[in-house]
Amino acid sequence: MTASDQAQQPVLRLSNITKRFGALCANDDVSFSLGRGEVIALLGENGAGKTTLMNILFGQYSADAGEVEVFGQRLAPGNPRAALDAGVGMVHQHFTLAGNLTVWENIVLGTQALTAPRLRARAAKARIADLSKRFHLAVDPDAKVGQLSVGERQRVEILKALYRDARILILDEPTAVLTPQESDALFATLREAIGLGLSVVFISHKLHEVMAISHRVLVLRHGRLVAERATADTSHEELAALMVGGAVSSPKIAPMPPGPALMRLSRVSSKGEGHAPGLQSVTLTLHGGQITGLAGVSGNGQGALSDLISGLAMPSSGQLEIAGEAITDWSPRRALARRIGRIPEDRHHTGTIADFDLTENAVLETYASDFARHGWLDWAAARAHAEALIQTYDVRCPGPDTAIRLLSGGNMQKLILGRVLETRPRIILANQPVRGLDIGALNYVHTRLAEAREQGAAVLLISEDLDEIMTLSDVIHVISQGRLSPAFARGTMAPEALGRWMAGDGFAEVAHAS
């Protein structure tokens, strides 16, 4: 029986799903069905509506129109319980685990009636042990989830679904937080599950994974289902084109000689926040006129490095030098005074203040230095500055008095970009600058960063997207568990080789050699 034969008895059918958030149409009349033992890949850019669609299927949102059928039964909308009871299990992109509870507690949560007199701990643990053996999901049921690694947490998420006898598994960007090697282990588990008759919806924007695991590919673009292909009949190139809907024009990175070293980290260590690793004896030099790409699986010390450069954190040991001068006193304001421009990872919560208007957000970093005298603010000048930014950086908005939370992600990012570039920074930290942006905004941001490079700025580009790193960077470092790989010049490393560094291989030899 081939995959397409199996697809003839759908276990899941979505019909004409439409969902709007205000003016944004996140899902526009989407329909598809899933067969027994089938793996469908839901492919699309960030913001294409994949997660929204799956949240509707799982009952976390209710659709404005359309319905979901599981095993022929219509699913009550807006109720995860109904989806769970019907045999749908979802592994969210952001894990839904309680860190202070143990693995088994997280798994059994909600599986017994709340009126039940006691937790059936022993039976639960036995069942978990059985499942983890069968599906190669090694994890200690008595461990506190807060102490687990990201890979282990994902296993707990999958076990949660299997424990409930899920027949349909939805995995939302499951590999975003995994090394290539961990991803392979995940695929092995999934194949096991398919063999036992489970069906899988796999959400991703990584083409090679989609090609490796799925039977069928559905492509979402701007909330609409634009294409459906049998995986066997399609190619990398075709899917890429379908996904973005037009040729991707990345800016030209013409070779140019590196400029002076503008920032130097020598054997810098720093503390991470919460469970995130800190930096371990990191040595890094940023040259003017270069884009330095930092590749790595998220949560491997990118946050610590970014905090350090933005002035939020001090090295706990080692030295930070800017333009040849050792830094002893460090804060965001001092970083700005040293002409470091910062594009933060989270533009909604770190980069902007949601209820502030565009003027206030535009001068958030410079109100004291450029728009005030003796503590008195010059709002007229600030407003003029905001208007200029809106013009120059093509920020689409009703005007400078609009609250920034009303802007789209792309326009918000353009304002931040303008705020940074207008100060003519010598060093630019760009942490995930295009995540979640549409292709137009993405190209715009990349082009502007490339221009800044040509004008002699040192750019540090942090991204989880290896393609983005490889396209834009003059040199590439890989970060893993807070350690930094040596610098690799443009074009000298294949993605697979970088992947091995991302998984933490190679560091031991370096440590040995030094």
Binding site: R333, T350, I353, L364
Partner: protein
Amino acid sequence: MRLEPIANPGLMRRLAPPALAIAGSFLVASLLALIAGGNPFAVFGAILKGAAGSKFALLETLNRATPLIFTGLAVAVAFRARLWNIGAEAQLYAGAVVTVMLGTGALHWPSLPLLVVIGVASMLAGALLLLIPALLKTRFGVDEVVTTLLFNFIFLLFVSYLLEGPLKDPMGMGWPKSARLISEARLPRIIEGLRLHWGFVLALVSALVLWVINTRTTLGFEMRAVGQNAEAARFAGIPVTRVILKTALLSGGLAALAGFSEVAGLKGSLTLDLSPGYGYTGIVVAMLALLHPLGVVVAALFVAAIFVGADAMSRALGVPSYLADIMLASALLMMVLAILLSKFRVVRD
């Protein structure tokens, strides 16, 4: 149910919350008045008459509003920066204690410089008193709501000790009461013969000054940024800890002025019942004013009118004057709910 943000709330939606909250609190009070056997119309008529029915009543309302403007401003400036100062009561007494310490004969200066020094010293005392919880918050992450609340009890006991010990009036016939201020340390009346002192003007000026600080200065901008999103503020280079401490100084100082104005303007000496909870009522005033300094003046006048009117009403009709406290507490709760509903709509899913 689910809450969905409203993109551009219209003027009506923004102005409706205070009106609805006040209307709602009147409704609650009417029901309770009925239960107590009073006719709501008679009750509110009596409240209105008691608050504004005569020149005397009106002046009483203005006098009662004065400390409420100060504590309302203190709470408003703190809450705007998300510093939950529930300790205005203690800071008020700190100002009062300093006023008594300096104003009962320790300094023999002409009136104006003496009042300025006492006022400034009071503010310092209140500021320092709030600085402790603020430092505990910034240094140790201790929730300032609980610490400022606990400080109210501690400081009131301290005042009780002072009034039975070092500050006790030797001529007070054993009552826990301070000596009277010397005449140079008294805030004069605005118009001779009318029972309204310059503390009221000082309160109005304070509101204006705070309004200017909020809208025109870097500090005002920083305080709002820290309150709205401390993480983004820190990232943008705003010295968050320092802003919180400055806010604490400002807030504590404003609350202390209430104590200064009450002792120097109205009472002339310090007793343990100087404030019938002005510090706590300041929270209601600030919330009803949507944390706007000029709104605080209006809200304080309203709240004072309710209190003064309720006292008179209670004497006339026998409905307990705690009706006023209930009205204000319910207005506070309805206000926050109404503000929410002006920004979000409730959607069923």
